[in-house]
């Protein structure tokens, strides 16, 4: 293929350990999680629902901040719009379960005009503006009497199901959406767009100089993240069956997304997953401690941010050199051990 003999001896690999092993592990996990409602007690399944909702949000936040450099503290805007999307379609007679993808599409459509206002803002300006957008969305939704106004509304369309059926279906749809979001993010980051994002993350000026349309890439990611967060809000509505503006648009969502992705590690797919596991582990152990739980969580976040800025997954990866879901490129000479450095992170 290449005529250059120096290039001919170079190989590019995309994973550290055997991809077959990872594949088998992933299939096993997917099977176990699909059967979860029949295996585990309901209390644990409810925790899993919340786990997947947060995982979807954190994965989207990681895409925004870790890959596209947009620190948003207003993603709860789309969480809320997703929840209210399900309510709206359910009022119009659509099954709430079918309304979830529709709500995600609505979230993406609403995000498009917002990008024209937000994308050109940088750093802190962007962060504050997203917060104001979320606050504005909450106030506007709270004035719509069809959607229950400020006091909220019970989502119709669940009455034909028994509580057990409702729990099972809500779990399965939440898990399905989480799986779609994770696989989609993985494929997106391994695609050409992923390469573009890595280039922007590493050096924006250099990326522009080789002809990358930075604004277009950012806009795409913002819209995808909006759809993902709307889907998270939508599946959450399936298990809560009641929506209320201050809950749906709560700043708490932004806080959790940020904590989970930063503690786990930005800029890796595994980071938010690990972050979610730690978050729910802490929550289950410290739940009786009331407010102390959040004091500890906040302190952990500060400590990780200052002393382990690449997150806990970053620490694991540096120590053991493993990549479970690799999206980077490794360059090595043929027949020699490959370089441990990720090409895209140099």
């Amino acid at each position: 293929m290449s005529t250059n003999p120096a290039l001919a001896s170079i190989t590019v690999r995309r994973s550290t350990q055997s991809p077959v092993l990872t594949f088998v592990g992933v299939i096993g996990l997917v099977a176990a999680l699909t059967l979860a409602p029949w295996i585990f007690p309901q209390a644990f399944v409810s925790i899993l629902v919340n786990f997947f909702v947060l995982l979807i949000m954190a994965t989207m936040w990681n895409l925004l901040a870790g890959y596209a450099g947009m620190v948003s503290i207003g993603q709860q805007a789309f969480v809320g719009l997703g929840g209210y999307g399900v309510l709206y379609f359910a009022i119009k007679g659509v099954s709430p379960f079918l309304a979830v993808p529709l709500a995600a599409i609505v979230g993406a459509i609403i995000a498009v005009p917002i990008t024209f206002l937000l994308i050109r803002l940088r750093g802190g300006y962007f962060a504050i503006a997203t917060w104001v957008v979320a606050d504005t969305a909450m106030i506007i939704i709270g004035t719509v009497s069809l959607l229950g106004g400020g006091t909220g509304k019970l989502v119709p369309g669940f009455t034909s199901l028994s509580p057990t059926q409702l729990n099972h279906y809500a779990y399965l749809e939440t898990w399905l959406v989480a799986l779609v979001v994770l696989v989609g993010t993985y494929l997106l980051l391994r695609s050409r767009t992923g390469l573009v994002l890595a280039a922007i993350r590493d050096n924006e000026v250099a990326a522009r100089s080789v002809g990358i349309d930075v604004v277009r890439a950012r806009r795409l990611i913002f819209v995808i993240a909006a759809a993902g967060c709307a889907a998270a809000g939508a599946v959450l509505t399936l298990s809560q069956t009641y929506v209320q503006p201050t809950n749906e648009f709560s700043l708490q969502w932004a806080a959790e997304m940020l904590f989970v992705s930063m503690i786990g590690g930005l800029g890796t797919i595994e980071g938010p997953i690990l972050g979610c596991i730690i978050f729910f582990g802490l929550q289950q152990t410290l739940a009786q401690q009331g407010a102390w739980y959040l004091v500890i969580l906040g302190s952990v976040a500060i400590i990780v941010a200052l002393w382990q800025p690449r997150g806990l997954w970053g620490a694991v990866r540096d120590k053991f050199g493993i990549e479970l879901l690799p999206v980077g490129h490794w360059v090595g000479s043929r027949g020699e051990p490959r370089s441990p450095e990720l090409l895209s992170e140099e």
Binding site: G124, I128, V132, D135, I140, G142, L258, G298, I302, L306
Partner: protein, 290 residues
């Protein structure tokens, strides 16, 4: 006459927003730090004024005499340790660290003093008001807050333009490396800026506690309004922050005139219009956006 009332009420509230926002504006302008714990710091100051200062036999009206200098000192120390360490990492880290701080402060207050609403007790000053021409009811506290924010912003502006320390703050804010090359210790300068920011937010927090009830979670919404005041006015301009605060206050009063649910909405819309039309703010420099 109703419109004049909206303007006056808006200006009075705006004075408070400006006082609240000037520390935020300073830290944003000088260190490029978005302090997400700013609102909670104000609430902490109000709690100290209510629960700790009375032990020193200082009346609550005068609690700022104790709390403000203490906060200045805390500001310097927090900047030199936590915030400086996170600035040395990257902007993400400052956001996460100040956000973590905000969550920690809020929940420590909840544990210590419960979610009950509190006020700073200032006796009859709290409910007496002045009504010129029997049209307006201007509470003395709001007038005092507006007057103090004008005085403080003026004094800060003078300090930044006339004193050596102030010039060093502006130098570091404009070009950190060049200032360092000409012998300025930027870490110390950052500490001084943070001390001023913490001192002013302590004053704002006590003023807030004098005019309305507060609880451990009061910081968030005030932080949002303070951010709006800073961005509307423009980063790096203290007078801009005053104008931004007053514009925000007037927009909110206008909203309240139409519907009691609308004050925040009108403020947000003003903010979004400014971002769309003039993202650097009314008095900001375009370079501040980068």
């Amino acid at each position: 006459m109703i419109w004049l009332n909206i303007l006056v009420e808006g200006a009075l509230i705006g004075g408070f927003y400006a006082l609240f926002a000037c520390g935020l504006s300073l830290m944003f302008g000088v260190m490029k730090v978005i302090n997400l714990a700013h609102g909670d710091l104000a609430v902490v100051a109000a709690y100290i004024a209510v629960f700790l200062v009375p032990h020193l036999h200082v009346p609550e009206v005068l609690s700022f005499l104790v709390v403000v200098p203490v906060f200045g000192l805390i500001g310097y120390l927090v900047q030199r340790t936590l915030i400086q360490k996170s600035i040395d990492r990257d902007p993400f880290t400052t956001l996460l660290v100040t956000f973590g701080l905000s969550v920690v402060i809020e929940n420590l207050l909840l544990e210590g003093y419960s979610a009950n609403a509190q006020t700073v007790n200032i006796g009859s000053l709290g409910y007496n008001s002045w009504h010129p021409g029997s049209i307006f009811y201007l509470s003395y506290v709001s007038l005092v807050v507006l007057a103090s924010s004008v005085v403080i912003l003026g004094a800060l502006q003078l300090f930044l333009s006339k004193t050596s320390l102030g010039r060093q703050i502006r130098a570091v804010s404009d070009d950190q490396e060049a200032a360092q090359l000409s012998g300025t210790n930027y870490r110390h300068i950052f500490g001084v800026a943070a001390a001023i920011a913490f001192a002013t937010v302590a004053l704002a927090g006590i003023a807030y506690g004098m005019t309305t009830q507060f609880s451990p979670t009061s910081g968030g919404v005030n932080l949002l309004f303070a951010f709006e005041a800073v961005v509307i006015g423009g980063i790096g301009s203290l007078w801009g922050t005053l104008v931004g605060g007053i514009s925000l206050g007037i927009a909110q009063q206008l909203g309240a005139h139409f519907n009691p649910q609308y004050p925040t909405l009108f403020g947000n819309i003003l903010f979004l219009i400014v971002l769309a039309v003039r993202p650097q703010g009314l008095f900001g420099k375009k370079t501040a956006l980068l």
